[in-house]
Symmetry: C4
Subunit: 283 residues, 4 copies
């Protein structure tokens, strides 16, 4: 976006943070990117007891660095944005806040580092990963294709769910509690596991009849896995077609022939033959 | 469907129940929709022992409410429909009846609430979910695509079954009873589990030879999973194509405008303007 | 196939057995179809010990009926076919023989009914199911599509195998024998199980590194499962396109020949021969 | 590649090794192909303890034969190539060296045949299989299709990973350590296992909530498995279109204009303007 050079430092800062078209802005983005990924890796590593035990202090320090960086970023965003309140209560605003605060809270209750609630809070930092979504620009007509087929896919998923509920109930009756289908929700869960060809195998039919129905479910799932793929790839092909197409779409040829030179394939709204210039008589 | 205003209360009621184009009809649909979904959730929750134990009375009451609602609906349908008998013995008629009656039966044999047969009957209410199918209008040429490829898909599934039977028999011979392939139907079941890439793992080949054949089966399944997808997406693309395509592909428009009436989009080899008949000067 | 009315009884019989265009021929086909399916069901049921125990005599009798039917069919085929030797040593000829003989052998060694070898022989009857393949006529351009993409699919499968071997070896080094990856063939097997998204779970990586590599394998498999599907559906779309194609062809070029130099393939609206410049007379 | 007949023996040898258009070169390729496949089979068999125990000496001998063949090939390559250093430090150069050397090292430390490091080294021979990639020429526009959709697929995989991280973290919170989701990386691993519909079942959700989320994950995975397939098959369809197109195009039209009436889009072999009959001057 081409915009006049900013003067005031706030505007400058705003551009650095919210735009990516200045060198500084680019640098800011890259650093933020690295910070987010690092913080996510940290959160992950912390959850691994063995690693947490060994490198606890190291993790702790780097966590503080990240936290301070995020704090600065958060404050900067609040200051420089036009409507601070709007930002603070926006999705990203809340995420940014929640992913910054827990470390400070952990200061207050120093001892209870392992406090589950706090961990949970810290885990929210994961959602910052969504900010990377901005870097996905490349996938434009993929998104279009998905949007275009959204309605159909949701219909399809709805069907899948109906099927899962009915078949799940049947399996619950056929297999019963002794074979792990201990209640309907569970056998619906099993049914989804099977229809989607995931097949954990934590629950599996034991009775011959159950296995027979299961086979039907699987073949059904195998048959219908084709549907969303078909939809998306069809829509997607259309998306691609629209690139060469534009010029052609809005032409309608009619079947009449020129009374004079009997040339055919006139545009539907043609008054005169494109070939000999003779007036066309519309039937 | 545009139809004359009903006068008689029966006709009114009929329209409310069977049509959705009056406000009352819409409301009826929405309420029915909610009732069905609720009843299904109830059936599911009941099957969960822990929940059933805790909230038994609550479930019981809400079940009664649903049952009465369904009863009223059922009677209303019977009264207002032109051919009551035809409705009563129709698929939905039977479902409606069976999903209403069990609660009343449970009154008679009060004690035996857990009576399996009764539960089973109550579970039939699940099938009412099929009524939601009416709300799937959106997926028209999806259905068309499926219809179009039905023949091919069934052929394909037929092939899958033949393959499953043959490979299943071979695996039965190779692995034998000691490795869980205790009889042919079971190893055919395993074969379907594998071909469809579900892979529960409740049965898995143990002998090297068995694992080798299994690998072939899997790669085969991987190869042929392509087929139904290919079919559907191809058919589906056709469905879509048939909307814009039929005549158009072979027209070339050029960008010149008519010097006289400045109409555009002339065919590339047009001599005269299709609009005013003026000679076109080719650049 | 239109052919002169047969006179001799052999020719008659031949037509009944090998053709399906006479009522008798149709009946023969249907009965054979039923017989084959029955025999396969019998073979399957026999392998289920519990069933075999209960209904042994029943199974035995029906087996005899089937066997005799097959014997008659086999003899009839040998008699009526032009080149009996050619038929006898053809794939189907051998299958037919092997699926008929075991029952008679079991007479000789009456006691040893459970003789594994004999069972195996009887199981060969399964292959008779392949005869049903004749009823698959419907799937013509499906087969074409597969033929067309055969080369590419085999290339693709070749790649899958290479990937499986390399990754399998890596997993063998990473996980080692203690985690079930007891040798390279086995971990290649695991790799195929994973790449094809079957995922039995009989072997699963235990070490973090192993699980990381496994994740890559899975995402890879997820990514490349697209390929064969893409190939087939693309080929299949082409197969379908070939229907509209011809019509398109004679839009660009028409079928008339130049009256002077008899050059063909003129553009449909050509006034003069592109080859000799002679005026074209439009029919 | 058509090239002048080589004279010097080095050039001759070079052609045999690096080209495949001389009979000798073809033979060399075939022998190399067999040698590589054999060596890989050997490596695999060796890893199977039972086989290694039985046929150790046989394996050892054939290993020596292969090793010597590879040594000769390696030396030949180094001698005949224009830039030996460049080859030696190229990927294949290193692979060739590493897949040749271990056997010789094993001479030095004769006793420690089972030395893990050595085995590992020997396993590197697996990578020689990549040389077979040269025989994949057939899959040209498949590769093109993949290249074309590379950007989109990577975007897609990136999304999958983000989803896996977020859902993995949620599952870690929901299921917790007691159900096998012992840390975030592990539940991310589970999430990938599930999203890709592999479903090992080594880890499976136990809590109702966990199973509910899992169902969503699976349906999500089921929905998005469509995306890469859609992309590839769409791209691939385009690739294919480009094949019939060119041939059609130059049947159609070239870019020259008629010097007289400046009509365009003449057939490529047109001598005269199809529109005014004027002689066309070919540039």
């Amino acid at each position: 976006m081409n915009k006049p050079q900013p003067k005031h430092w706030k505007t400058k800062l705003h551009n650095i943070i919210y735009e990516a078209d200045t060198p500084a802005g680019k640098w800011f983005d890259i650093i933020l990117l690295i910070a987010i990924i690092t913080s996510i890796i940290l959160v992950m590593l912390e959850s691994v007891n063995s690693i947490d035990a060994k490198y606890h202090s190291l993790l702790n320090i780097s966590e503080w660095i990240i936290t301070i960086m995020f704090t600065i970023e958060y404050i900067a965003r609040v200051i420089t944005v036009k409507k601070p309140v709007h930002y603070i209560f926006s999705f990203y605003g809340i995420i940014d806040f929640l992913s910054t605060i827990p470390k400070y809270i952990s200061l207050v209750f120093g001892g209870v580092h392992a406090l589950a609630a706090l961990r949970a809070l810290r885990l929210l930092r994961i959602f910052r990963i969504l900010k990377l979504a901005r870097y996905l620009g490349a996938s434009n007509n993929l998104v279009k294709a998905l949007k275009a087929s959204r309605a159909k896919i949701s219909v399809f998923l709805f069907v899948v769910i109906i099927v899962a509920i009915i078949l799940g109930t049947i399996m619950y009756l056929v297999e019963g509690e002794e074979n792990g289908f201990s209640n309907i929700p569970k056998s619906v869960y099993w049914c989804i596991v099977t229809l989607t060809t995931v097949g954990f195998g934590d629950i599996a039919p034991q009775t011959p009849l159950g296995q027979f129905i299961a086979s039907l479910v699987m073949i059904l799932g195998y048959g219908i896995i084709a549907v969303p793929t078909g939809i998306v790839s069809a829509e997607y092909t259309n998306q691609n077609k629209n690139v060469p197409e534009p010029e052609k779409l809005d032409v309608d040829l009619n079947t009449q022939a020129c009374p004079n030179c009997s040339a055919e394939k006139h545009k539907d709204n043609a008054e005169f033959c494109y070939n000999c210039g003779h007036k066309l008589n519309h039937e």
